[in-house]
Symmetry: C2
Subunit: 157 residues, 2 copies
């Protein structure tokens, strides 16, 4: 398989995994009853999860556009620079969501934040799925960047 | 100023900002009394802040090593690939810390997590300082990468 084909496959996989991350995250919703009080869990209640969805959306949209752009050699410089930005955006969005997810799972006794995953296990499972899909997208961009760098290095005398 | 000198200056600045981020974060500590109960705030109580310190430590250490390595042309490929990894590590560590910091400042009423910055304002101010220093380090790595790519692009016929 040529380098261009590997890059196309990786970009297609990135489109798929970001789309999966968004779909799993936005459909996550669960309502629980705690001490007769209704307790609602939704991704949009937490800014880190909203940021995650927006970042995955930008990365997914860019991956689609880059599929077209990377076929035209004129744009390869722009694509590579944008790849760096998107890789950083993806790693940042997952970390923010994982940090909040960890508090949701284990709580933070020092700050008095109680874990909520015991009450809304389905919601937490869906979040974990979204985070795994997001992680796959970030890993794909890391591989894409390292591959592009390798091909660039080969050009240097 | 030559490209090599710009890269050296940027790496020195990265060493400085990661060191500042670590120093400000690890010295952040405040005790408050809430309803006669002693309330202790420390960075090590939150995994996201511990991850932040470790990631900034790795990035700072690497920046120091890369100062030496980037003087020797044999290592430039390795340095550039490592720069990509460190840039992603830095953006990830800041986002995790910002996500938790945001809950500390504003709380999350849906999850029942109360804000704590009202009780420990000095601790929160120091955290903000550490996050700004970490953000500067990540921005430096983004600039470093884009500059290195530009010089690489210039080589292509």
């Amino acid at each position: 398989m040529t380098k261009a084909k590997i890059s196309l496959v990786l970009r297609l996989l990135a489109v798929g995994s970001t789309a999966a991350a968004i779909a799993i995250m936005v459909t996550s919703h669960e309502t629980a009853k705690v001490l007769n009080l209704s307790f609602d869990a939704k991704y949009s209640y937490t800014s880190a999860f909203v940021y995650f969805v927006i970042a995955e959306g930008i990365a997914g949209g860019y991956s689609l556009v880059s599929l077209l752009l990377s076929c035209k050699p004129v744009f390869w410089r722009l694509v590579m620079m944008m790849d760096v930005v998107i890789a950083m955006l993806l790693s940042s969005s997952i970390s923010a969501a994982v940090a909040i997810g960890e508090v949701g799972k284990k709580g933070n006794s020092h700050a008095g934040w109680l874990p909520i995953c015991g009450q809304v296990p389905k919601f937490c499972d869906q979040l974990t799925g979204a985070l795994i899909a997001g992680f796959v997208a970030a890993a794909i961009y890391l591989v894409l960047l390292l591959c592009s760098l390798r091909s660039l290095f080969a050009l240097k005398p």
